[in-house]
């Protein structure tokens, strides 16, 4: 089984600035996948970015990038040029093949105009 911890219940950022959300995880498996999901007030879970553990290169999706530190079991999300539409609850998650997706507690991101 895996565990995921998000130590920042709330974060805020000014529009156009950069913010980093933290996440640590633990798993005994060598092959696993890491994700960041976004949940706006509509409650629809939206995949933001994913990282395969076997890949050393950090994943990037437009303004979203991750800092994957495998030895430290850390998986932070960086949002650049923050926009008002980025305001949401962000969940970090970990999954191994054939198992459940395990979520962290979430970080509520506020974007100030």
């Amino acid at each position: 089984a895996q565990t995921v911890t998000q130590s920042q219940p709330e974060m805020s950022v000014q529009e156009a600035e950069t913010v980093t959300l933290s996440c640590t995880y633990d798993t005994s498996e060598s092959d696993y996948y890491l994700f960041w999901y976004k949940q706006p007030p509509s409650r629809q879970m939206i995949l933001v970015i994913r990282q395969e553990a076997y890949k050393q290169q950090n994943a990037t999706e437009n303004r979203f990038s991750v800092n994957f530190q495998k030895a430290a079991k850390s998986f932070s999300l960086k949002i650049s040029d923050s926009q008002l539409g980025d305001a949401a609850m962000y969940f970090c998650a970990c999954k191994t093949s054939g198992s459940r997706l395990t979520f962290g507690e979430g970080t509520q991101l506020t974007v100030n105009p």
């Binding site: 509509s42 409650r43 629809q44 995949l47 459940r100």
Partner: protein
Amino acid sequence: GAGVSQSPSNKVTEKGKDVELRCDPISGHTALYWYRQSLGQGLEFLIYFQGNSAPDKSGLPSDRFSAERTGGSVSTLTIQRTQQEDSAVYLCASSRSGLGANVLTFGAGSRLTVL
């Protein structure tokens, strides 16, 4: 379908009544997951289906909760004798097999309110 469809979107029921929540996964997705999200909380795993079988149902909180999946497609989550603490959003997700098997696509959820 194009996305994961859940119904009803909202359900209000009285304590003690039974409720059924439905999930229609993306066509061709073999895996299906149910999660529960209480107000302001994270996602609590309930059960996972691979095809019609449930390799992991360890998250079901009590024997009042059950789920089934037929034809490798639609799934129904049933809550018997509902209690107020069952009030939550119930989220369903599905994923394909093979490449992309670990990427879950979520539905919009069913909000259950037990009075």
